[in-house]
């Protein structure tokens, strides 16, 4: 295991104000660099966790790292030392198997110690292979049975609004979950109840357990489906941090003026940031040989440094 490349780690692991009020002095470039650095560290953590297990959903974690970084390093309001703080925004990981990426993000946020990440998937660890709320601080729900997250998110959004809370709900789901009818029950419910405090993020990696999404069950046209369901819909390159941050800014502006729920559809690349894995045949459960982990980290760091200096 190698140490993550030195990048500026946030000094205070607490984000209690909305992004707009918190970072008034920050330039667009500074913001982009800060959140991109977080994404790099999340990817690095995920590779380390994958190496301990010798396997895991590393491909998904790398693909979704930018989405996770945008949420945890930029959007979410939380108190690291008090994961149950009432005023926190809620991030719901519907795709339980993305836990590896989520744990990396929780470490980045200071909610889970970085030193604990190596216990991922081991007996008695607080970091099981599939994310569960009863195990991990900062894990709001037990995902894994796909299609649950958005239904819970609707209830949370209703409950928080009823109680006068300004907290927001972010529900992370995958394009595979669009197969589940419950996702669309929830999509209709959120629109019907005008849940402007709810943002869904869909990781469209075009891959699910049995193969490519368009060969398993065609979910496209995805954008039109969400628009038809009444959501404020944006589709972006989910590995383009500038585009992601702009989409979140649009969603926040829109939430302030209308009661519509917001969805950010993110096209991502499995294994993103590690060319070796980006080029490998895409699989739900990616095999990585023992000798390849170090190479993956080197490629990741080289890519990040190259981009950072460019």
């Amino acid at each position: 295991m190698t140490t993550v490349r030195e990048t500026t780690t946030p000094e205070l692991h607490t984000q209690e104000l909305p992004q707009k009020e918190r970072m008034t002095q920050e330039t667009v470039t500074d913001r982009l660099e800060r959140v991109s650095a977080a994404a790099y560290r999340i990817r690095h953590h995920a590779l380390n966790m994958g190496e301990v297990q010798g396997q895991g959903y590393v491909g998904q974690a790398l693909g979704a790292a930018d989405m996770l970084a945008a949420v945890y390093a930029d959007q979410l309001r939380y108190r690291a030392e008090d994961p149950h703080w009432e005023g926190r925004d809620r991030f719901l990981l519907s795709t339980g198997h993305y836990a590896i990426g989520h744990y990396a993000a929780l470490a980045e946020a200071g909610i889970v110690p970085v030193s604990e990440l190596e216990t991922y998937g081991s007996d008695d660890s607080r970091l099981p292979m599939s994310g569960m709320s009863t195990y991990t601080p900062g894990m709001e729900i037990s995902g894994g049975s796909l299609g649950h997250g958005l239904t819970i998110a609707v209830g949370m959004a209703l409950g928080l609004r009823y109680q006068g809370s300004s907290a927001r709900i972010y529900n992370f789901l995958s394009d595979g979950e669009l197969d589940e009818g419950s996702t669309w029950e929830a999509a209709m419910g959120a629109h019907h109840h005008q849940l402007g405090n709810l943002t869904a993020m869909v990781d469209i990696n075009a891959l699910q357990a049995d193969g490519k999404t368009d060969t398993v069950l065609r979910t496209e046209p995805i954008t039109e489906k969400w628009e038809a369901a009444g959501w404020y819909t944006q589709r972006v390159d989910g590995n383009d941090m500038a585009a992601l941050l702009a989409a979140f800014d649009n969603a926040a502006a829109q939430a302030a003026t209308s009661g519509r729920p917001s969805v950010i559809l993110c096209d991502t690349k499995v294994g993103r940031g590690v060319p070796l894995l980006e080029e490998r045949e895409k699989a739900h459960f990616m095999r990585i040989e023992e000798h390849e982990w170090q190479l993956c980290r080197e490629q990741l760091t080289a890519g990040y440094e190259g981009k950072a200096s460019a």
């Binding site: 809620r90 569960m132 239904t151 409950g159 009823y162 419910g189």
Partner: protein, 339 residues
Amino acid sequence: MSATTEAPDTTTAAKPKLKTSAMIASFADPGQKTASAPFGHALVKAAQENDRIVGLTADLGKYTDMHIFAQAFPERFFQMGMAEQLLFGAAAGLAETGLVPFASTYSVFAARRAYDFLCLDAAEPNLNVNIVGGLPGLTTGYGPSHQATEDMAIFRGMPNLTIVDPCDSIDIEQAVPQLAASEGPTYLRLLRGNVPTVLDEYDYTFELGKAKVLRGGNDVVFVSSGLMTMRALQAAKALEAHNVDVAVVHTPTIKPFDAATVLAEINTDRLAVTLENHSVVGGLFETVASAVVTAGLGKRVVPVALPDEFLDAGALPTLHERYGLSVQRIVAKVLAELG
């Protein structure tokens, strides 16, 4: 109507009036004392005292007496539409924010359509989510699409879930605040509309998790839940005419089960009979049987329960008679057992 339409059948008026399988059929006996929508009124009362109580339904508010709550507290009522997975997921989400949801639908949909959502979103994190299922067991003549004959069998395997099968309006009125106050998820087998009031004639109060002996008797012991406790009491009275002395133990909480009280009554020389408005598979009978075996008692237990079949459509009295839930059938079964 066009001129080519067939002439109406003029013989209709002469035919005998058919028994109806109308949805709003009540199982109350003619002239029986009843209370209107006891669940809805009990929920309103509980909500007046506990501002964390909220209600939701999946397009069955009017048919589960939830409309009473919705009218009293419109801002605390959430219509989820005909979407049971959303109903349960959202109920869990509401509970995650510290509220105490009561979510209503029919028992068939609660048990069959959205089990995974109640199981993983509410039961696994042990949230205070209260499911209210209308038309439990055989309380409608609409056939298997609406008859939840196996709801308890389905739900008994769910860890953390409390299951309550109330007898009458008294049980429901007293159970609702206790369900709201108890931690963890619950499932209430709702009796709706004009619900018989039976237990006020006995020295009885509903206590979550407790079985109660309603009457003593030397020859037979009935262990019953739900509306079958009403039938058990009626059958016990009818059996007096045959010089058969029957005790009745009411077990409204199916899980966790009050085995101590029930076993103390069963472990005698009396004929032991369980009575339930549920399939003979996986309900009260098997709950009692497993308690008996676990305690090492070599005691025979006779079930009065619905058969392990998809049931017919028809009028409720017809069906209760057909499947053995009527007082007459219970009396006959006991007399046959006693030889």
